[in-house]
Symmetry: C2
Subunit: 207 residues, 2 copies
């Protein structure tokens, strides 16, 4: 939803309020950065998130400072960013990054209903590796009792996206400098088994 | 510098206040997330940063909302995060990420001295690609006049790091689930030349 607070102002052509696009960026980003204010000081903490429909979920130990602050119902900002490439221009000025980012504003609420908390924790494990929730021991009652789950409605949100080649001034096109984009992507490496892993347990293929 | 505000509380064994480590993480992270508060609402915006000694620099158009807010001398939080791997545990509860993150608290100041602004912009271009500042047209006076450069002292800062295998409960070690770490890294793809690139200009090797 577009509000005056989420309206993309600079380079507004890069802004979008399309829920499908916002959801897709949130689903691709492995971590988001959560902003909240304590005694006038903003804090920005990286965290794993999971989306179910139009709600974002976070979890952590009950004693976690960020979750404790958010549980108090303070305004929050959750930002997820995917860096897609570096943009090399002929002029220093027009160097840039290609990226897709989402900003969600709102107030988080504790998830107290057991089924919703279980679904959120299931989704959080699935974020780490798709299909993983079926290949590990689910949380016990004791574990659930020390885990805080928070939800934030994806209502007041915007996306901002830069794609494509550099935008140099026409006068600079004659300069003898390479210009273009170097795409970036995150790739998994060779799995490193836990030193205590029992013999004969294969690495699970992602779903 | 360790203060009560930057002390790592949860899993304090993962915290560090070593300037060399803090600098190394900031130098490796291509973007950081800048938190600031406007009318009680926190905002978290991804941005390119560059470090020179113990100062972090940011830049953008004079009209940029984030820079305008920060120029007013409001408290800020700059967080840079590197996700190094996904941690697959035998229990849902102990799934995690390996990461290195830095949180810097402080108040940004506008860089008004021309030489310092030029050095900062030089460093910002070098962040996009090492060696690049020598292979593009430097900023003109007109470009400098519409570019805001801000500096934040890396004084009140902390790092938080998770490395290594999952930490499962001893009782779970007998479970038939794969456990370990899948390392993640960001890799460049094949450079995509600007459609308007003149013939015969080779892609510059990074320094």
């Amino acid at each position: 939803m577009l509000t005056e607070r989420t309206r993309v102002r600079r380079r507004s052509g890069r802004g979008s309020y399309d829920p499908d696009l916002i959801h897709a960026i949130l689903d691709e980003a492995l971590v988001s950065h959560v902003g909240f204010v304590v005694e006038g000081q903003p804090y920005v903490i990286p965290t794993l998130h999971a989306r179910i429909d139009d709600r974002l979920y976070f979890h952590g130990a009950i004693a976690n400072r960020m979750l404790a602050a958010l549980r108090d119902g303070v305004p929050a900002c959750v930002t997820a960013t995917l860096v897609d490439g570096i943009v090399l221009a002929r002029s220093a000025m027009h160097h840039s990054l290609n990226y897709r980012s989402v900003v969600v504003l709102g107030t988080a609420v504790p998830v107290t209903e057991g089924d919703e908390a279980r679904r959120a924790l299931h989704a959080l494990v699935e974020r780490v590796q798709p299909g993983r929730a079926a290949h590990c021991r689910p949380p016990s009652e004791a574990e659930l009792s020390v885990t805080a789950v928070l939800a934030l409605s994806i209502e007041e949100a915007s996306a901002k996206i830069r794609t494509g080649p550099p935008v140099d001034d026409a006068d600079d096109h004659r300069l003898p400098y390479w210009a273009g984009v170097v795409p970036l992507r995150t790739v998994p490496g060779v799995p490193e088994p836990d030193p205590a892993l029992a013999a004969g347990i294969p690495f699970p293929a992602a779903r």
